[in-house]
């Protein structure tokens, strides 16, 4: 799903008012597109206000059920005790007992005050160490999560970069061809006019003398939604022969290589209409460009 489509669906996404498949597709897009996620944020914040103020308490028994179900659903993971190297509880208990016995013996010699002081200091240090370990674990977990997200973003960027490189190389090839043709001394040029449906559009059709192929360059056409394309028609009497489809970039510019089955000199004119993305068998949409071809 493209960003434009996602942004159109964001308000309904925020309210869960999409079909389930649409919601999942938008949700998946938001996981990897920071720009759309940012667009979604004010809408989600508005939606969250609608949940304001019930103030009900979930029953206390629910917590146990929730944790049991969630933890039971996960594959087994190393426990915190193993991760942190803390020994099992019975070993800890044994160690504490021995330590306490030693401290008591020590206290008998050095006095009860000294014992209390040491116990407090020990407990304080243990608390500090545990707190530090927890903070470190949180930091490590966040870094791991960020690393995963960055890897995913980098992979997406790489694939977009590959696509751009390929598109750029295609454009360079087309421009070279155009420059070569433009320099030809006997190049034929026919002006193409915008109709009342596209009054700011114009273009030209350039072809070598034999008129076997031609380049159509147009400027000023509106970019179309993804479901539509511009379709070229060659006119012969009442016939309209399909010449192929093209789209324009965001500035309304396009160049299109026309390869008719017969030489262009066999046709009287050229028309361009708006059609569904798969193209039509005959013109069905509004006429946007027209040109008269001089038959030889």
């Amino acid at each position: 799903m493209k960003c434009q489509q996602v942004q159109d669906l964001l308000p309904a996404y925020a309210l869960s008012a999409l079909e389930p498949e649409e919601w999942e597709a938008v949700d998946a897009h938001l996981q990897r597109c920071a720009r759309c996620a940012q667009e979604a944020q004010p809408l989600l914040e508005g939606a969250m206000w609608l949940s304001a103020g019930t103030g009900l308490e979930p029953p206390p028994r629910l917590k146990g059920r929730v944790l049991e179900r969630a933890l039971g659903a996960h594959p087994a993971r190393p426990s915190l005790r193993r991760l942190t190297g803390i020994p099992p509880r019975w070993v800890t208990a044994g160690a504490v007992s021995v330590a306490l016995a030693l401290v008591v013996a020590w206290g008998a010699v050095w006095g009860v005050q000294r014992q209390i002081h040491l116990e407090r200091a020990l407990a304080q240090q243990q608390g500090q160490i545990q707190g530090l370990m927890l903070a470190l674990q949180a930091m490590e977990a966040r870094q791991e999560a960020r690393l995963g997200q960055l890897t995913s973003v980098l992979m997406t960027m790489q694939s977009k970069e590959d696509y751009r490189t390929e598109a750029l190389s295609r454009s360079i090839h087309d421009l070279r061809q155009l420059a070569y043709w433009s320099a030809a001394p006997d190049l034929r040029v026919v002006w193409v006019r915008g109709t009342s449906s596209a009054p700011t559009a114009y273009g030209m059709l350039m072809a070598p003398p034999e008129w076997g192929v031609a380049i159509l360059v147009v400027i000023g056409l509106d970019p179309l939604p993804p479901a539509q394309v511009y379709q070229v028609w060659l006119v012969r009497g009442d016939q309209r022969i399909d010449g192929g489809t093209f789209t324009v970039d965001n500035s309304g510019w396009a160049q299109f290589l026309l390869r008719p089955q017969e030489p262009l000199t066999n046709f009287e004119g050229l028309r361009v209409t708006i059609e569904p993305v798969q193209g039509s068998l005959s013109p069905t949409g509004p006429l946007v460009l027209a040109a008269e071809l001089l038959r030889r």
Partner: protein, 192 residues
């Protein structure tokens, strides 16, 4: 420092790393809000409990997919909660357990909890602010927000029910949500 002292992003990162106490701390912090969202839609304690279970199961399994670009963890969690509740609401509507009625959800809410007077007061204040803000919305925007959020209709179903184009529904939803947010602020995410 204990798990309950950690911030939401840290807790969520620890949940993603499989730390069970982090999930428990997150539950303690958000179970009430999730339960409230679910009850507001479903008007049924048992169904709201089911949603709470599904939400925390989803958090446990999907915490790795959360990124800060998607807003605060609270916002992320609340949108999961609402989505699960809507799913359940639609299922129950299909089997005739609940009827889509005229949108008047706020009046139907039970009074806030009496167990915790502070929380109850905050909830009542939020509800009053929301009610007031809704009165400032264009009635046509208010209608589509309530039909989608509280009655679980999709935007297409709203268009059919009201006999208006889908594009109009989309525009009303967008404008209504942005107006609500500008009237009330992003504050829901900061008041856990």
């Amino acid at each position: 420092m204990a798990y309950r002292d950690l911030g939401d992003p840290d807790l969520l990162a620890l949940v993603a790393a499989g730390r069970e106490p982090a999930l428990e701390a997150l539950y303690d912090r958000y179970a009430r809000v999730v339960f409230g969202v679910a009850y507001a839609l479903l008007q049924d304690v048992g169904a709201a409990e089911e949603v709470v279970q599904e939400v925390f199961l989803a958090v446990w399994q999907k915490a790795k997919t959360y990124s800060e670009a998607r807003g605060s963890p609270r916002l992320w969690l609340m949108s999961i909660a609402h989505h699960r509740a809507i799913d359940l609401l639609r299922k129950r509507q299909r089997v005739g357990m609940v009827q889509v009625s005229d949108p008047l959800p706020l009046a139907d809410h039970p009074p806030a909890s009496e167990d915790d007077p502070t929380e109850g007061a905050i909830a009542n204040e939020r509800r009053a602010r929301l009610h007031q803000a809704l009165q400032h919305l264009d009635p046509s925007q208010r209608e589509v927000l309530l039909l989608t959020y509280f009655h679980g209709l999709t935007q297409r179903e709203v268009a059919q029910r009201l006999g208006i184009p889908l594009g109009t529904v989309k525009t009303r939803i967008r404008l209504g949500l942005l107006k609500l947010r500008s009237l009330l602020g992003p504050g829901m995410g900061m008041e856990a």
